[in-house]
Amino acid sequence: MKRLMYLLPMGLLLLLGLFLLIGLGLNPRLVPSPLVDKPVPAFELPALEDPARKVGSADFNGEVVLLNIWASWCVSCRQEHQLLARMTDRYGVPIYGLNYKDEREDGLNYLRAFGNPYVWNAHDLEGRVGIDWGVYGTPETFVIDGEGRIRYKHVGPLTWDKIQNDVLPLVERLRSETL
């Protein structure tokens, strides 16, 4: 018994090491969003394509949709951009864009160069809507259900793996819920 007591510090040390090891695998940049399962923060902004036209959360219209926050100055947005187009082409998921803190001309050039998979793009020049949506690292992608609630948030560029394993199954499930 007494002998075992001497092993206790080593046991504690190993436990601490285990915690640290788990900590190494965590990504500190992933901040859980308090907005998940909450109604979308309503917004109305001029469209990037046409400043006279107003677009906003009212357009989501009881459909399961994606909202993607992007900017022309955001390098990792380019990384996922082609995947967004592939996703809408193959699976018909409507994806809306929020152009975040970008000059109109730069945003439009970006869409001309890389294609435009978005239904529309809202132009959030000042980043006010971005704050309402808790945006802190572009690109960010939100999945919104038929009742206008945010159900999932992904920070950083989407990968095809992520789309196939997480986003599309969730969209499927939410669609069957709405029906």
């Binding site: 969003s33 308090p34 907005l35 980043g127 006010r128 704050i131």
Partner: protein, 158 residues
């Protein structure tokens, strides 16, 4: 001896470089110094979610600038500190707070260190008691004592 002299202007340059001082110092135009003070206080309470481990006061990231602007607007509009903190937490979660609230999710965070300290004292008490008992039982037995006394006595005689 004089080789480090050229370093002095370089160090001076570092100390007064804009990056050291400028972050978080946006021009403000609060009518009352109390408002300015509240603004400064909040800047240090809130974390920048882009450059983590920097407060809004320290960070020069675009988002931090926007949030500082938002903070000023809200203070001008007469929001209380609690309202502003709620506003930030509802968007970015408790993560934006340098002092997270005392709630079931953070009990371990707040109480954990004191529990560990308590465990440390318990361990200290147990080990010190154990060692005192130890000296009592592993004492020299009486036969050895007598022998020692005899030897010492004999030594005196000689």
């Amino acid at each position: 001896m004089t080789t480090w002299l050229p370093l002095i202007p370089l160090l001076a340059l570092l100390a007064f470089s804009p990056t050291v001082q400028a972050a978080g110092v946006d021009p403000t135009n609060f009518e009352k110094p109390e408002l300015e003070e509240r603004y400064r206080g909040l800047l240090h309470e809130l974390r920048c979610t882009v450059c983590q481990n920097q407060s809004l006061a320290d960070s020069d990231a675009g988002l931090a600038q926007d949030l500082r602007r938002e903070l000023r607007t809200q203070i001008h509009a007469g929001s209380s500190d609690d309202e502003i903190i709620d506003y930030m937490v509802s968007r970015y979660g408790n993560f934006v707070l340098y002092r997270p609230p005392f709630s079931p999710a953070t009990y371990l965070l707040w109480i954990g260190p004191f529990v560990l300290l308590g465990l440390g004292f318990v361990a200290l008490y147990l080990t010190s008691r154990g060692s005192r008992q130890g000296t009592g039982t592993t004492g020299v037995d009486s036969a050895a004592r007598q022998r020692a006394r005899r030897l010492l006595g004999e030594g005196k005689d000689v």
